[in-house]
């Protein structure tokens, strides 16, 4: 048997979670007061977990590198959150949400976890409304929904283009209530630099106070890693500048297996790169594909003229436009899943039809939607013979109400008015499906170390559907972890406080201070950003939207060489015992330089194409992904053994008892 035990409960799929909750151990309220839990990261998963655990009575310490828990990058999620409420009466159900998610993930996720996610999805909406989250509503006062990619129902709840912000502020408010009660102690502007194991169990962390530079020991009976994803290994991504893999990677180095590192989501609708100075990329929500149509010029000479600035998109006649998603995928059209939409954009741009100066952009056009909505609005308001100009004005108002903040953001960045001329978009790194391997209880391979939200690998397989990240983060934090962690902590009711004066804490602290000193000891040839950008280029060019054996092998060599160069020559100015942003970045980039290599190794090992992982050698004659269920229907879980090249692969075979594996088709 594999060393990986997923601990999926027995029984019928739709009863697994209920029966599991009924059977697992609980900790009585009086004993909870004697148990400490550390939560690293205060986004949707971490914030929700911290608040819920504190409500239950545990003593919680939260850690975030930002100056406030409210600034975690969940805040930037735009489009929405899925739930199988079926408020629209369009045939939605837990099963359908479960099925869509498994299929969307290209059959590389765990059935039982995904079904649980669907089961609790409705509770999330109830909970958030009870907290005062101001979701969008219809005129009758009921909650409004919209559609996202890869599904045929409207199940996405939203708050304009700021859903992540509103949900995170909800979790933050729940945290604040517990901070006010003294049940959560927040450590803001703190970064976890190592995980401490005592007798094989996670018993605390070493953290750095990012203001004073002090190295601190914090003990607990369990540690929850909810530190988000590692998209910034690509340097340019839609992640926040500070988003990093350190907490998860430190846990990995201490024994937590890292699962499916190569499963990365490249989001199709981001604002294209404008130049070498670019520090990050900005997403334009997938919700825009509800109303926007994606196209490129059908004639190469038109595309060339646009790139040369001689032609404007509005001058291209309807018949000379190639709405390639509608052409290739008539059933789902512009709402195909993200991986499919991204590859299709790359295909058109590679073939020479791209727009923008760089040739790396496609159009997202709202003209049809503006006129459609405008016509409807004119009719409703009794203007039977409205002029085109009136219709357009009315239509623009409706589009503004739906996506106003996104349009404004686009205009600020690109300096063009997207109501008048189509947006330009191009795929960018957005989310990482891979992460720490966890069992059904969200426990990693280290006892007492849990992982939640984007930091774990669990629910999205090889491709995440839109509006599912918020759902998973909150499901893990509010409704899964608070139950499952009790099962583990029930054995700790007599343990008492964990001392930080142990040889284990001593040794971990020394390793941390040695590493910081080593970062400072570089010869000072190049800045941290110099290395980060180089790493990003390797990742994007060789481990990005399409991958092949030759380039992955090159990437492995190049990253290892870059890592050696980094440690020898990096320049980290300033002192260790003060606020030092370059030092913070250096530690994060050092970990990306290890993760990047494991990422390439994982992609090289997976000789198939599935979801966001597209291997050029494995495709159908039409250029669609060619999955290999016979040989690759497993989760890759990597065990740390020193250098990334020595990592050992463990496989968790995925068992599909309820869903028949099919070729994923959106045609």
């Amino acid at each position: 048997m594999s060393v990986l035990d997923s601990k999926v409960p027995k029984g019928p799929l739709d009863q697994k979670w209920t029966s599991h909750k009924n059977k697992i151990n609980l900790v009585n309220p009086a004993n909870k007061r004697n148990i400490d839990v550390i939560v690293v990261g205060t986004g949707l998963a971490g914030g929700a977990a911290a608040a819920s655990l504190a409500e239950l009575g545990y003593n919680v310490k939260t850690f975030c590198y930002q100056d406030s828990p409210r600034r975690a990058h969940s805040i930037a999620a735009q489009g929405g959150i899925n739930a199988s409420k079926n408020y629209q009466g369009d045939g939605d159900s837990n099963y359908r949400l479960f099925y869509d998610t498994i299929k969307g993930g290209d059959y590389r996720s765990r059935e039982a976890n995904v079904h649980r996610l669907a089961e609790v999805s409705g509770n999330i909406i109830d909970q958030c409304v009870a907290q005062g989250v101001p979701f969008a509503r219809e005129y009758g006062g009921q909650l409004d929904n919209r559609s996202f990619g890869g599904v045929l129902v409207s199940r996405t709840f939203y708050a304009k283009g700021q859903t992540g912000q509103q949900l995170l502020l909800g979790a933050y408010s729940a945290m604040n209530r517990q901070i006010n009660r003294g049940k959560i102690t927040p450590y803001n502007r703190h970064e976890m630099l190592d995980l401490v194991l005592v007798d094989g169990k996670a018993r605390g962390i070493i953290a750095r106070d990012l203001v004073s530079g002090a190295i601190e020991r914090h003990s607990a009976h369990a540690v929850v890693i909810a530190s988000g994803g590692y998209g910034n290994v690509f340097f340019l991504s839609t992640n926040a500048m500070g988003s990093n893999v350190m907490a998860a990677w430190r846990a990995h180095r201490r024994g937590a297996f890292f699962a499916n590192p190569c499963f990365t989501q490249i989001h199709p609708t981001c604002i294209p790169v404008s130049g070498d100075h670019q520090s990050k990329l900005t997403l334009m929500s997938e919700s825009l594909r509800n109303d926007g149509r994606i196209w490129v010029p059908a004639k190469k000479e038109d595309a060339e003229a646009i790139r040369a600035g001689k032609l404007k998109p509005t001058q291209i006649a309807e018949e000379d436009r190639d709405y390639y998603l509608e052409r290739r995928y008539p059933a789902f059209g512009n709402l195909v899943p993200r991986d499919v939409a991204s590859r299709a954009a790359k295909e058109r741009c590679d073939a020479g039809f791209g727009v923008n100066k760089t040739g790396e952009a496609v159009y997202l056009d709202f003209d049809a939607a503006i006129m459609r909505y405008g016509k409807e609005k004119a009719l409703i308001s009794g203007q039977k013979d409205a002029s085109d100009a009136t219709i357009r004005t009315l239509g623009e108002e409706i589009i503004a109400a739906k996506y106003g903040n996104l349009f404004q953001m686009y205009e600020k960045i690109v300096d063009e008015n997207p109501y008048k001329t189509p947006m330009m978009i191009y795929p960018a790194v957005h989310y990482t499906m891979g992460g720490l391997w966890v069992d059904y209880n969200l426990q990693t391979t280290i006892p007492g170390c849990y992982a939640a939200g984007e930091a774990n690998f669990s629910d999205h397989g090889a491709n995440r559907l839109g509006a599912s990240a918020l759902m998973q983060g909150l499901a893990d934090g509010y409704f899964v972890l608070p139950y499952t962690i009790g099962d583990y902590l029930a054995d700790d009711i007599r343990t008492g406080r964990i001392s930080t004066d142990s040889p284990e804490f001593e040794a971990a602290e020394k390793e941390v201070t040695d590493r910081l000193a080593k970062l400072k000891a570089g010869k000072g040839l190049h800045s941290v950003d110099y290395y980060h950008k180089k790493l990003g280029k390797i990742m994007w060019n060789k481990c990005g939207m399409s991958r092949n054996e030759k380039e992955l092998k090159e990437a492995i060599e190049e990253i290892a060489a870059l890592r050696a160069d980094f440690w020898e020559n990096v320049k980290v100015p300033g002192d260790l015992n003060t606020k030092n942003q370059e030092l913070e970045k250096a530690g994060r980039v050092a970990d990306f330089l290890e993760l990047g290599e494991l990422f390439a190794k994982d992609a090289l090992t997976r000789n198939e194409s599935c979801g966001g992982h597209f291997r050029e050698e494995y495709q159908t004659p039409e250029g669609e992904a060619l999955r290999d269920d016979e040989n690759f229907k497993f989760v890759s879980a990597w065990e740390y053994k020193g250098a990334p090249k020595d990592a050992v692969l463990h496989k968790e075979e995925l068992v599909y008892e309820n869903i028949e594996l099919k070729t994923r088709s959106y045609k």
């Binding site: 609790v120 509770n123 953001m409 606020k579």
Partner: protein, 248 residues
């Protein structure tokens, strides 16, 4: 573009701090303001000088990390944007740009352009929440219909990103716009009604304890707010506060 930057440098909370001048060249209009500072820092690092420290994270105008008083205005000359979304096309060749931290006694400087805004967190902790446990058996989300106008207004108030521009813009360093946005969000929703009176009293008390100034209805906060939070929220909070005091 060639520019002259005058930047506040302060090596820690106890340092006196001073303005320092840096010439910079090769700046393009498509760069964001923070990308311009990245260019400066890369240059400073290569020259062996210490880079300028500033708060920033999402760089898409939503996390509220970035601050900066630019030519005397929080988040610079453009309206409805944060510093991270301000682009250099708003400046012209030869300009001198003065960059300071947000100034307020309730926002002490940590280093260079970074200030401590934890006072905002403490105001929220004093009552910025609805006391509901996570249980999975709360009311169905559609059980209480909410008038669309109220829901939309609650959203507009909740769109505050907690950056502190309102405080930095105010001659009294008042936090009324920030506090009132949260009070309003809950006051407009049925879920917030039960605790409305204690919430407003506790949050206002904490706001005063933190050393923020009083509101004298100048309205600079509304103008400088990158999210367009309306002054109406302050009026609503005053109403809520008054009614809470009367109820006693």
């Amino acid at each position: 573009m060639k520019l002259t930057l005058k930047i506040w440098r302060q090596n820690g909370a106890n340092d006196k701090g001073k303005m320092q001048t840096y010439p910079i060249d090769g700046i393009e209009g498509d760069m964001s303001f923070l990308e311009m500072l990245d260019v400066l820092n890369e240059d400073l690092i290569n020259k062996g000088e210490s880079p300028v420290e500033f708060d920033h994270d999402c760089r898409e105008g939503i996390c509220g990390s970035c601050s900066l008083q630019i030519n005397g205005e929080p988040h610079g000359p453009d309206r409805l944007v944060t510093t991270c979304q301000l682009h250099m096309r708003s400046f012209k060749d030869g300009d001198t740009i003065v960059i300071e931290p947000f100034r307020a006694s309730a926002f002490p400087v940590i280093k260079d352009l970074i200030v401590d805004r934890s006072s905002f967190d403490r105001i929220q902790q004093a009552g910025g929440y609805v006391s509901v446990n996570t249980s999975g058996n709360t009311l169905d989300a559609n059980a209480i219909p909410v008038n669309k106008q109220d829901a939309d207004q609650a959203f507009s108030a909740a769109a505050c990103i907690g950056c502190g521009a309102c405080v930095a813009a105010c001659k009294n360093a008042s936090a009324m716009l920030f506090t009132s946005a949260k009070v309003s969000q809950y006051a407009l929703l049925p879920q917030g009604q039960v605790e409305a009176a204690t919430r407003v009293e506790n949050m206002v008390r904490q706001m005063d304890l933190e050393g923020f100034g009083n509101c004298t209805n100048t309205g600079a906060c509304e103008i400088e707010c990158p999210k367009g939070i309306s002054l109406e929220n302050i009026a609503r909070m005053n109403r809520e506060y008054l009614s809470a005091s009367i109820k006693g």
